[in-house]
């Protein structure tokens, strides 16, 4: 199934900003993190279709996953 992955801030280094990839149905975010060599503690904030998710979340066709490292501001 097709998944859109958006990476932000330092996670973009040596990777990409946005990409569309094919993954097996029901794959978890954890597997995608492994695939992209992103350590779990660097994937501090994960959204699936704009809602907070975690490494255990399983994905569906056409989901958009956005991953942020620890960030802050105000």
């Amino acid at each position: 199934m097709q998944i859109t992955i958006n990476l932000f801030a330092t996670l973009r280094n040596n990777r990409f900003d946005s990409d569309q990839r094919q993954y097996p149905c029901g794959i978890t975010i954890r597997s995608i993190l492994n695939d992209l060599s992103i350590p779990e503690n660097e994937a501090a904030i994960i959204f699936v279709n704009g809602r907070h998710a975690g490494p255990d979340t399983a994905l569906l066709e056409k989901d958009t996953v956005s991953i942020f490292p620890p960030i802050g501001g105000g």
Partner: protein, 578 residues
């Protein structure tokens, strides 16, 4: 920091000053100081521009020491924008310099009988107050250049631009940074108008010959500072993300989360977010010879600020903050980062709150004064404010005034102050802070975004009502305490996640003052400050009816998550339940 400088601007003949010991204000600093003075000495029913109002300028309890991050200045008064108590907070050099000069507070009182403009110079020798009508209507950058020419280049400046002189509700008070640029502002609540009403254009400080304030226990202090800095450096937010990208790193995440107020709070996501994001801004700054990592005051180890150059590589403004980029960017439908940076420079120069200014322009766009997305029109509207034309004066009154004049219903304010860069429907914790903070709609007062969106200090789902009251309450209490120490609130990212860094902060206070503060002591201080503020507001006529968001936030659904603000009124009234 053993004295208070009171300046009576309305004294017969000429302004008079006195220097007194701290008296009943011993032990207070920063926001605790400004709130204590305002709540005890300002009649809550006075007109904010009258001689009865006072402008209190106070460094924090640790300002002027070698403690990292200790350079924040609090400026307090009755706010002409909200009609309630205000503490407005700024970075830059002034807090440390003022503290080293020995002043725990400057209190401007009274009001001159003529329309003369004054400059105040404070150094090791003492205080000089002089008329200088040649400074009239100077924008902040020009004003600072003049003060530098007159007083030398070791000075720090606290000043108002034309907006403050015109007593506009959007007027800020500028503090110079390490490069002596007026880029750091006590922005919120119209504090610049109060300074203008008292005829003070600039307070110039020179601490040459003064030394760092010494702790009671220098050994313990040094050790605590070392651990404090270690904690800040090792936390990924304060040690990596903020120095690399600055606060504008939030643009992408708020837009992804569906909580980025767009087109005057009509939707929660902006198609142009990426073009004005922190990532894009940092790249652009580097490319043009600017700097994405820069501290606003000496002793800052986070360095969330930066330097922004224009297309030709010339300095334009400091790295615009997230709130500024949002207010003048997505909230106005503008995705041109150069236009936003230009507006940031104009805001600093005229001396206006970028949050109030941007939300006002968005309301003006809803009124049809300009089109959403029209950056050139937005720049012109800000220039109208600087000129003081009738349109400029209306816009300079802020979002609520502008909405009233042009018959706009959807005005995003609480207690008359415009909401910052997080939609309360999709970030419900910050919605509780907006509604209930004595400051009006204020994000720093209880930054629930940290836990709602950024997963700092735990996680509370931003899209549901549950958990938000407790979250906002705890953060409002903690923030009121931190705001009294002179510490930059961004230490909170490290302090909320790392108990040892919180302990280091306690150890800094205890080693400096010879105290034995615990976490409970910090909570008590925060509660005390909030209670004084709530009490002032009540005496000023505020009721629980003012602790509410505008009704349309409960009725109007926000895309993409189709949420409304559904935290119950009776729960909002439980925030201050002590």
């Amino acid at each position: 920091m053993d004295k208070i400088l009171r300046i009576n601007m309305g004294a017969e003949g000429a302004p008079q000053f006195t220097t007194t010991p701290l008296g009943e204000y011993a032990g207070f600093g920063g926001r605790a100081m400004t709130t204590a003075v305002v709540s005890r000495e300002v009649p809550p029913l006075c007109h904010a521009l009258s001689s009865d109002n006072k402008l209190v300028i106070a460094p924090g309890m640790l300002s002027g020491t070698v403690a990292a991050m200790s350079g924040r200045l609090s400026i307090g008064c009755k706010s002409p924008l909200t009609g309630g108590i205000k503490e407005s907070n700024s970075g830059g050099q002034a807090a440390q310099v003022l503290a080293r000069l020995g002043y725990a507070a400057i209190i401007l009182e009274g009001k001159p009988k003529t329309d003369d403009l004054y400059k105040i110079f404070i150094n090791k020798e003492g205080v000089t107050i002089a008329v200088d009508n040649g400074l009239r209507m100077l924008p902040n950058y020009d004003l600072v250049a003049k003060m530098k020419a007159e007083f030398g280049d070791k000075i720090s400046c606290i000043s108002i631009g034309p907006a403050g002189e015109m007593k506009m509700n959007v007027a800020s008070i500028a503090c110079t940074d390490m490069e002596m640029r007026p880029t750091r502002h006590a922005g919120r609540g119209g504090v610049g108008a109060v300074m203008g009403s008292k005829g003070v254009k600039a307070i110039v400080l020179d601490d040459t010959g003064m030394s760092m304030r010494s702790p009671k226990d220098p050994e313990k202090f040094r050790d605590a500072n070392k651990r404090f800095v270690e904690g800040l450096t090792k936390h990924p937010v304060t040690g990596q993300a903020l120095p690399a990208y600055g606060t504008n790193v939030l643009t992408n995440i708020l837009s992804e989360a569906g909580g980025y107020p767009t087109y005057n709070f009509k939707q929660g996501s902006f198609a142009g977010a990426s073009k004005i994001s922190g990532e894009t801004l940092a790249e652009l700054e580097k490319k043009r010879g600017g700097v994405p990592t820069h501290g606003c005051h000496r002793g800052c180890v986070i360095r969330c600020s930066g330097i922004f150059n224009d297309k030709d590589g010339h300095y334009l403004t400091k790295q615009p903050e997230y709130e500024t980029v949002w207010a003048h960017g997505g909230n106005c439908g503008i995705d041109d980062i150069d236009a936003i940076a230009m507006i940031d420079f104009l805001d600093d120069n005229y001396g206006v709150d970028t949050i109030e200014m941007g939300t006002t322009i968005a309301v003006a766009m809803d009124a049809g004064i300009a089109k959403f997305g029209d950056a050139a029109a937005a720049i012109n509207l800000v220039k109208e404010v600087g000129k003081g034309s009738y349109l400029g004066r209306i816009l300079g009154g802020g979002a609520a005034v502008t909405g009233k004049v042009f018959g706009v219903e959807r005005v995003p304010v609480v207690k008359g102050q415009a909401m910052p860069a997080y939609d309360p429907r999709a970030v419900k914790g910050i919605g509780v802070t907006y509604a209930t903070s004595p400051m009006g709609a204020d994000h720093t007062a209880g930054y629930a975004v940290a836990t709602n969106i950024l997963k700092v200090g735990g996680f509370v789902d931003p899209l549901v009502a549950e958990g938000q009251i407790e979250l906002s309450r705890n953060l409002q209490i903690a923030t009121a305490a931190v705001d009294s120490t002179g510490m930059c609130i961004f230490i909170a990212f490290a302090v909320l996640d790392q108990p040892e860094t919180f302990q280091a902060l306690l150890d800094l206070l205890n080693a400096f003052y010879g105290l034995e503060l615990t976490g409970d002591g910090v909570v008590a201080l925060g509660k005390k400050v909030l209670s004084m503020e709530r009490d002032f507001n009540e005496r000023a006529g505020f009721t629980s009816k003012q602790d509410r968001l505008p009704r349309y936030f409960s009725n109007e659904s926000l895309a993409p998550h189709n949420v409304t603000f559904d935290v119950k009124d009776e729960d909002l009234d439980k925030v201050f339940n002590w």
